[in-house]
């Protein structure tokens, strides 16, 4: 548990030994964490630190898996619809194209960003950051890319898209002959790997590894 720093003992502590809660600005003494420990802000409950072992190695494995799943998840058919002998297919990409060609370019761009571009860019940023830590090259680019990654985090919406697929399936299932495609399974796998990756890659450890403070990140 992190302890709040009070004004009487503050002069004795240099700021390197302090941290502040990002959400409420409460000043705390930097806690010593060991693997598997979590530190929360005593005032607002925000999760400050999660310490995990072998962060870089495990995250690299997950990020490569996610990148391999990316193409089949987005370009293999999620579902096929058969209406009186006519068959249509749906992929994530064809959804974007369909909106674009029906004159709704602005929504097509939003859907493209939230369901394809941002998730891919996030994965590429994470991959580059992890490689830069692992191989010890280009740390300054790593820092920049990791900052960009944090700005994109909110805007990747794979889990919402999956819910959208489910709603669409329920709406269509009575109207025509519907069959599920391989793309849906790849999409679900991509989503799960991506969530797992986000849980594994604890930000404060990555920041410390990028700035060279954490020597054990690659263990």
């Amino acid at each position: 548990m992190a302890e709040p720093a009070s004004s009487d003992n503050l002069p004795a502590l240099e700021f390197e030994r302090l941290i502040a809660c990002h959400e409420c600005d409460l000043l705390l003494r930097k806690p010593l964490t060991s693997a598997g420990e979590k530190v929360e802000c005593p005032r607002c409950g925000y999760e400050l630190y999660t310490h995990r072992s072998q962060v870089v190695r495990r995250s690299l494995a997950l990020v490569i898996t996610a990148l391999l799943l990316y193409l089949p998840a987005n370009f293999l058919p999620i579902m096929q619809l058969n209406l009186l002998g006519q068959v249509t297919e749906d992929t994530v990409w064809s959804g974007v194209l369909g909106l674009y060609s029906s004159g709704m370019q602005s929504i097509a761009v939003v859907v493209f960003l939230c369901s394809m571009a941002v998730p891919l860019l996030k994965l590429l940023c994470q991959f580059a950051v992890l490689l830069s830590i692992r191989l010890d090259i280009g740390r300054s680019y790593g820092l920049l890319l990791y900052r960009i990654y944090h700005h994109m985090r909110e805007w990747g919406m794979l889990e919402v898209y999956l819910m959208g697929i489910l709603v669409a399936i329920v709406k269509l299932v009575d109207l025509a002959d519907l069959s599920i495609g391989l793309g849906l399974f790849c999409f679900i796998a991509l989503l799960l790997v991506q969530i797992w990756l986000e849980v594994t890659m604890s930000p404060h450890q990555i920041w410390e590894a990028l700035s060279g403070e954490d020597k054990h990140a690659c263990d």
Partner: protein, 207 residues
Amino acid sequence: MRAIDAGLLICHECHQLNPHKPDEEKQFCVRCGGHLHARRPNSLARTWALLISAALLYIPANLLPIMTVNSLGKGQSDTIMSGVIELVNYGMLPIAAVVFIASILVPTFKLVGIALLLYSVQRHQPMSARQRVLMYRFIEWIGRWSMLDIFVIAILVAVVNFGSLASIVPGYGATAFASVVVLTMLAALTFDPRLIWDNTKSDDDHE
């Protein structure tokens, strides 16, 4: 004690503490190079601006059709609410509930919630800091789920494409709705949660 009182600035991006140098006009984080501010500049004004734009677009988003189903020469336009009612009429209650929550309850709750949060931070009323922080986290977390209807439209437009037999065309309500979702997400991002705790007496009584 807050970091700002100790003359320390926390980086928005990497959460590194930096000593505040008041004589420098612009200060950058020693670790990641991000721009440092004690609080996000004009956080309240910007959040209000985004929120009001979202509230204005909320009207066409609910009144204009989000999609039109063409089937054998007949066209039927759906607004967000009529889509939900149709699902209820088909007896698909769980899905109707999901769509109702994601497309109607959540955006309305977000507009009201952010306005309440801004009002209570500016007036130091009528919620406690803890209630406000719970509200903020809930709004931040739930915002993305309103995109659900937009994704459903994208999928339906792509898959229901049988020429004159049956097809689905998106409507301008969808554009307005997508803008509401994006604007309210931006409003939640612009709001600085640390303002919730400033000017509260609960500064040290966090037990």
